[in-house]
């Protein structure tokens, strides 16, 4: 998925000279996850460069650049470190179009590796997507595979508004279903690991159904798509697994159609449960599908603790926890 993300930036830097890429360690070195490797060599150091370690500065400078007319695509080294830049995202990027009545706009992408499963402890594992979905003016995207990652990132860079682009870092090198002990599968062995050359885009705001099913609708995104697939396989629950891809704007139509069909719904995310994005999904599903629901909607999520180091696999909502919830939901 690293190559797909890099490729998206490469393609867009080639097509549009207003696209610039910067962040901590993204220039010469190519980023700690190597997502920008080669871009400085190819496009020069005024199009791809290292910044001082100041997330507010990175986003704030990008807001100014976007207002000028560039299309910055910046990297926050880990989602866990976005908070110093949160004010610039929430108070500035998200509201610039609105408050100026489009006199100034902010076509900006903020990329950040998200999620756990890499022994990263509490400061390299967080999934703060709900802190962005609450903010009017932002779009929030979480790809689950290389094909989507490239297409969605291209769409995000082309979008006229600020987009938070969260990259599940545990998926950088292959799909991951929650079993750290199993041999790693590279993307090259996966159908969605194939990434076409050149330009294409995956529209923001459209979900994808990863598994059709009749017994239960599962809403997931990022790494949890694979956890949900594994849980469905293990439990034998005939789940319809929806990969949301974009959290905001949300593809409620696809969700609604599925829940109306299955009558049951479970939601899986890695972020902390309380006030996580699952809460919004749950609220929307019960608002729109109340009379079709045959069982309570279940949320499977990270516990309401910081992300621990030693207990990572007790924290991580893996297939066992998801499967249990699926069974409880279909049996309820």
């Amino acid at each position: 998925m690293v190559e797909a993300i890099r490729d998206a930036m490469d393609v867009m830097m080639e097509r549009d000279e207003n696209v610039v890429v910067f962040g901590e360690d993204v220039g010469y070195f190519g980023g700690v996850f190597r997502c920008t490797q080669g871009l400085q060599a190819k496009f020069g150091k005024t199009r791809c460069f290292d910044t001082p370690i100041n997330e507010s500065g990175i986003v704030g400078a990008a807001v100014g650049m976007a207002a000028y007319g560039l299309r910055p695509c910046v990297e926050i080294q880990f989602a866990d470190y976005v908070y110093p830049g949160y004010d610039q995202i929430v108070s500035e990027a998200a509201r610039l179009r609105y408050r100026s009545n489009a006199d100034f706009t902010c076509p900006l992408v903020v990329r950040m590796p998200t999620g756990g499963g890499i022994s990263g402890g509490q400061t390299h594992s967080q999934s703060p997507e709900a802190l962005f979905t609450h903010v009017s003016g932002l779009k929030t995207v979480v790809p689950s595979n290389p094909y989507d990652a490239k297409g969605l990132l291209i769409a995000a860079i082309e979008d006229p508004d600020p987009v938070i682009f969260m990259e599940p870092k545990r998926l950088y090198n292959g799909p991951f279903d929650g079993y750290p002990g199993k041999p790693a599968v590279p993307w090259s062995k996966h159908e969605l690991g194939e990434v076409p050359d050149g330009y294409y885009s995956v529209p923001l705001g459209k979900a994808a159904i990863r598994r059709e099913g009749a017994a239960l609708t599962v809403l997931a995104y990022g790494t949890m798509v694979y956890v949900a697939l594994a849980a469905a396989a293990e439990t034998g629950v005939d789940a319809e697994i929806i990969d949301l891809r974009t959290l905001l704007p949300l593809d409620l139509e696809t969700i609604e159609a599925s829940v109306r069909k299955t009558g049951r719904c479970a939601i899986v995310h890695e972020a902390t449960l309380t006030s996580g994005f699952g809460a919004e999904l749950c609220a929307l599903v019960q608002e729109t599908c109340f009379y079709h629901l045959e069982a309570p909607i279940k949320r499977v999520a990270g516990w309401d603790t910081p992300y621990p180091h030693a207990q990572e696999w007790d924290y991580f909502p893996g297939p066992a926890r998801a499967g249990r919830a699926f069974l409880e939901t279909v049996e309820a």
Binding site: N18, V20, T46, R47, T51, P52, N54, S56, G57, G60, A61, A62, V63, G64, M65, A67, Y68, G69, L70, P84, D87, Q88, S91, E92, R95, L96, R97, Y98, R99, S100, N101, A102, D103, F104, T105, S136, G137, K139, P160, D161, G205, L248, P249, L250, L252, E253
Partner: protein, 410 residues
């Protein structure tokens, strides 16, 4: 071991408080004309002293003196005077309008008019200011229509910002005036980013960041200085030191450093301090910095030493935290009177013409106000529509907002 005396916390206090006699004896004011004027490409280290002095042009006799004088002709000075007078008249009307309930909030510039009015004239078309809420002079001096400003203040049907923003949070790309945020200091680093963008594109346009004395304490001030210093961004970083941040005197933000310009020293950014109530000095120093930026010599930090004569905004009363007569004691005088006296001294102006100009300007402002009010005020007459509230959150309205708009009945 612990043979040290107990520690004590130092909490800075202003020299005087309500009830005390105002005292600015600690403000050291160099003679007009006494401060050197280095070349724009001077080594920042060699001009460190400029961060601790005050560049002044107009002396007590109303003459323009010293190496920073002589840049502006009579026509330009008269225009400057007119702009400052317009801003002052505009302020007076809008403060009154707020009291009359025609809007919710206003911020005036009394005493600080020279800073934004003179600065505006140093920029080239296309250059971009990133102002705070106290630089409306930039708009007025750039010829932005007073009526449009008032329509924004009234949040009426002609409000260019559709009623979405707090009064005075103008935006005008055309006039080189970036959308005001209301969040302090955020725009300072954005100015640097805008300037970096211009340099990336090999453009010739430059940016100007604006911040108040109190707001230099915000972290984005640091971000701006770090980025500006690292990438030598073509930006002028302005600090308007009007001595107060709401009720808090400048000593709380400044700490031990004596001046705000001093902050530039840590970054080798040339830092100059200027008499902010001296239209000629402001123009000269700003021009110097703008020239540096246009010549790709990098950022400049300027501290404008001035005084906030009025309240912080219509929401507070300064009598609660400073002596009522403090503004009268301010040793740098009034910018309008000083420029007026200079022009009279030069024979380019007179008391009579000034009185006449005042009346004309008031007429102009009143006419603009009448026109603006014909389109409504905050709670009466023409209003922005509720639809406008839902528009513009995104370029294209997403389904959930469309649903909400429908739910709201629009």
């Amino acid at each position: 071991m612990a043979d040290y005396a107990p520690l004590k916390l130092h909490v800075p206090e202003p020299a005087v408080r309500p009830g005390d006699i105002p005292d600015f004896s600690n403000v050291k004011i160099p003679h007009a004309g006494s401060v050197e004027r280095p070349p724009v490409d001077a080594d920042p280290v060699s001009i460190r002293g400029l961060a601790f002095s005050i560049i002044r042009v107009l002396n007590r006799e109303g003459e323009a003196v010293g190496p920073w004088a002589g840049l502006l002709g009579d026509g330009e000075l008269l225009e400057g005077l007119r702009n400052m007078m317009t801003l002052r008249a505009f302020d007076a009307r809008m403060v009154m309008a707020q009291r009359q309930g025609k809007t919710s909030f206003y911020v005036q510039h009394m005493g600080e008019e020279a800073v934004s009015c003179a600065f505006s004239k140093t920029l080239l078309p296309g250059d971009m200011n990133f102002p705070t809420y106290r630089q409306a002079g930039l708009l007025i001096a750039a010829g932005y229509p007073l009526t449009d400003m008032m329509c924004q203040i009234y949040s009426n049907e002609r409000d260019p910002l559709k009623g979405r923003q707090l009064p005075i949070m103008y935006s005008s790309r055309k006039s080189g005036f970036f959308s005001i945020s209301g969040n302090l200091a955020t725009q300072y680093i954005q100015a640097v980013g805008w300037a970096m963008a211009s340099a990336i594109k090999n453009d010739t346009r430059i940016a100007a960041g604006w911040i108040g004395d109190g707001s230099t304490a915000e972290s984005d001030f640091h971000a701006a200085l770090v980025f500006a210093s690292t990438y030598k961004a073509p930006v002028v970083l302005n600090i308007v030191n009007n001595q107060w941040a709401i009720s808090t005197f400048q000593g709380i933000a400044r700490g031990g450093s004596g001046t705000f310009a001093a902050r530039g020293l840590g970054f080798s950014i040339p830092a100059l301090r200027v008499d902010g109530n001296d239209y000629l000095a402001v123009y000269a120093v700003a021009k110097w910095a703008v020239e540096r930026a246009h010549r790709n010599l990098g950022p400049t930090l300027i501290e404008y030493v001035t005084y906030r004569v009025g309240a912080h905004s219509t929401a507070d009363d300064p009598a609660a935290y400073r002596p009522k007569t403090e503004s009268d004691a301010w040793p740098l005088g009034d910018p309008v009177i000083r420029l007026k006296n200079h022009l009279i001294k030069k024979g380019a102006w007179s008391e009579a013409r000034h009185a006449q100009a005042e009346a004309e300007i008031l007429d102009t402002v009143l006419a603009a106000q009448k026109e603006a009010e014909s389109h409504g005020t905050l709670h009466a007459g023409g209003q922005p529509s509720v639809r406008d509230m839902f528009e513009g959150v995104y370029a294209v309205m997403p389904p959930h907002l469309r649903r909400q708009r429908q739910q709201a009945g629009y």
